[in-house]
Symmetry: C2
Subunit: 465 residues, 2 copies
């Protein structure tokens, strides 16, 4: 069996079922690919000489050039024949977009797809899926046009999803929060290519910083756990497991026909394999976007710098409730803060810079905490509604500390005005995630702390005298 | 002692310390009031004849008209004298914006303020606070200009906050999410007017639908609990208590000098008094905005209608984890759904309308669930990235069901395109909160279910044979 490189890095793509009628699935996919993909695109349609201005072919095997990836959007009954043709033509991966397989009781037809493909060493993604989106090359087989579903730009998060609609929602959300993607794969019924295959590829993909998986049920739990165990010491793997409750498992069964399985068993497998488990959609996104741009935390001690006392207290509660600590500064850090800040400022952790805060004070306090060795990460709360705090200079200091010190750093801020919005954008572009609430920032730090534990455990396990 | 009506409904306001220098606190407040407040505004400044184009007076008592509310922004040492003058002039409420009292160890000066005020029956808000914002009348004493801190428009949520910066952050957030306010009060050191006084007024305020309190520590726990017990059967009270953890209480002490107290004691008091406790900033906002526009739920049974299977499963998990249920439809509801929906649709709860969903199908399914009597509330997940689903008509059906049936109804949707954004706005304007994630929508329903329990318990307690 071949690998799945061609799913992520094809030079040429054939779209089988590229209809002459605008609006049909295959046609939408063809147009999307033609406008965004950097490689070659071939429509396949036996009833047309050209589709959407491109020369069309009656079959994949009649295309005179090499085809790496085929996208199949024809009725289910016709799919096995097309797969056979793809195999004969030397295609490496075929994405079967079409539905009408095991999800409606036609497990036989799905099995037929796979057995035909295996004969040729062809790998199948799907059926009943949306396929792949790879922003860096413009590869985009999603049948929802981008005016209906906005696409995130290039970035470091890879999303793997059993549910196409969940994936679509997550993409729209990422786009709205300006978080970039390295790859998105919706694999639907997962007849052949599964999470383990995709993880194996993404582990070596230089564009991917973190891998996030939406899972309803594993086809082969051991295989998945083993794949996660392989990847997690190298790259963080975030998992959102739907169907945690018994009513949820019932919903999973009627949704994808998967068995959601015992949640306790999944929990144990995730812990053991080093997956970082998200318990909400929001955590799924916040964990992933943070792990994609920052390294693991060396420990649970967090320094909190704030210009809002109330948000500072809420941050401390949220951190402690997630298992982190907010240690009081020791004598030398205390003295240093004392010497750097105005005499009427309190000194402590959280360090309250008050409503008189300036960018220079943020810079000084961040540096003092980072250099002290007393904390393993920083949460910087910068509310830009105060008159003396310049958003742009504050952002510069944040990015400077981020570059200079190898510790987790997340920011809490709100887009209260234009200057604040620009500062937030520049921090995010520089690899510092910005959240509107202390609790979401605490979630982000939690993911980095948890990933630090995963990494340290892997080092111990791998060490051989 | 008088009440606090004049804080919310003054006809005339004096600003003491209205400086001739732009940018000074008193000057900013004066300009804000002059541009937004519908009543009369008088600058008080003994060193000027006019400030910002308004005739200025040397003292409050020299103003020839009646003054209901005074806003004081002069150095702390000068405040007791000004309070005396306000008392003599018959002012009903004075907001002392100035800091420099108990928060810096000058409890004596703060006590002096209060004892002078009490002699005249004058009530004091603050000191060390931001004061009041009342969108419906344009009353706005916040010293942060609106270009630095956006203000929400008029609405049904009242916010009471010990921390000005927390309040400011929440306001900016509400403004960004287009949630309206009935009133905002930052009362800082709480030397005189406290939550109980404010709750008493807001209980009878027709503009206020729900009251949200940010609390670090109560001055008098029994008094607060008793005030909440009085209000909660009439209007929902949401509380976010900062300083839940021991590190958090330490931070509270250094922030406002309050004793955060035992969290278990607060938890018990909130339960007993019928407060609905938020455990995160996000919940504080989501609980409040939902309770402000929808009535209590009669029970925990929720119907979920979705066009995304994955989001549907996540919704079920989130609801069940929060103590709600997602019951399977009984025979007659099942039959009704069967007859209303295309034959190839699955039928159940969650009701998956699939990627082929239309607005009419949403309308039919919502009505079938609402009329069945089998559920106490609805979560409607409408992802507008599918080609056949018209956002505007879907929103119309949602609002129709909302008007016609007296059950909680919240929506999950994303602003994936212009049409979706407009539909979301119209649903929110019609009293249906819209959230990007199933978990936040489940939080919103949780608040309505919890408030239903509070109401039913109050009925039992009040019933006398």
């Amino acid at each position: 069996m071949g690998g799945v490189e061609a799913l992520f890095e094809p030079s040429s793509v054939a779209v089988v079922g590229a209809s002459r009628r605008p609006g049909k699935l295959g046609r939408v996919i063809l147009e999307q690919l033609r406008s965004s993909f950097r490689g070659r695109v071939f429509p396949v349609n036996p009833k047309a000489d050209s589709v959407a201005g491109l020369r069309s072919y009656p079959s994949v095997s009649s295309i005179p050039e090499r085809v790496d990836l085929a996208v199949i959007a024809v009725p289910a009954e016709a799919c096995p024949g097309v797969v056979e043709d793809c195999g004969a033509a030397g295609v490496e991966v075929a994405i079967v977009i079409s539905g009408g397989f095991s999800e409606v009781g036609r497990r036989d037809l799905e099995q037929e797809l796979v057995s035909r493909a295996r004969r040729w060493g062809l790998r199948i993604v799907g059926p009943n899926c949306m396929g792949v989106y790879r922003p860096s090359s413009g590869l985009d087989t999603l049948f929802t046009p981008s005016d209906l579903l906005p696409r995130p730009g290039p970035g470091r998060v890879a999303i793997l999803t059993q549910s196409g609609s969940f994936g679509g929602a997550v993409m729209a959300w990422l786009a709205a929060e300006r978080v970039g993607l390295s790859a998105f794969v919706s694999y639907g019924n997962r007849a052949d290519v599964d999470e383990a295959d995709l993880l194996e590829y993404l582990a070596g993909d230089p564009e991917t910083g973190a891998i996030a998986i939406y899972l309803e049920g594993a086809r082969d739990g051991r295989r998945l756990a083993s794949a996660i165990s392989e990847v997690s010491p190298e790259k963080p793997v975030v998992v959102f497991k739907a169907g945690r409750t018994s009513s949820g498992s019932r919903a999973v069964l009627s949704h994808t026909g998967s068995l959601a399985g015992s949640d306790a068993a999944y929990e144990a497998a995730f812990k053991q394999s080093g997956a970082i488990r998200a318990m909400s959609t929001q955590q799924f996104l916040d964990f992933s976007r943070t792990l994609a741009v920052q390294g693991p935390s060396r420990g649970p001690r967090v320094g909190v710098i704030t210009n809002g006392g109330g948000y500072g207290v809420a941050a401390v509660d949220a951190l402690v409730e997630r298992g982190m600590t907010v240690p009081e500064p020791g004598p030398s850090l205390r003295e240093r803060l004392r010497s750097l800040l105005p005499p009427y400022y309190p000194v402590g952790n959280p360090q309250d810079l008050t409503g008189s805060s300036t960018a220079d004070q943020y810079g000084a306090a961040m540096r003092a905490f980072a250099e002290s060795g007393e904390v393993d990460g920083l949460m910087v709360i910068a509310l830009f509604s105060v008159p003396l705090l310049d958003p742009s200079r504050t952002a510069d200091y944040v990015l400077e500390v981020r570059r200079e010190f190898d510790i987790p750093l997340v920011v809490v801020s709100l887009e209260v005005n234009e200057g604040a919005a620009r500062a937030i954008e520049s921090m995010e572009e520089g690899g510092v995630p910005v959240f509107p609430s202390p609790e979401r920032a605490a979630d982000a730090l939690f993911a980095l702390v948890r990933y630090g534990e995963v990494r340290r455990r892997a080092e111990v396990t791998r060490w051989r005298p």
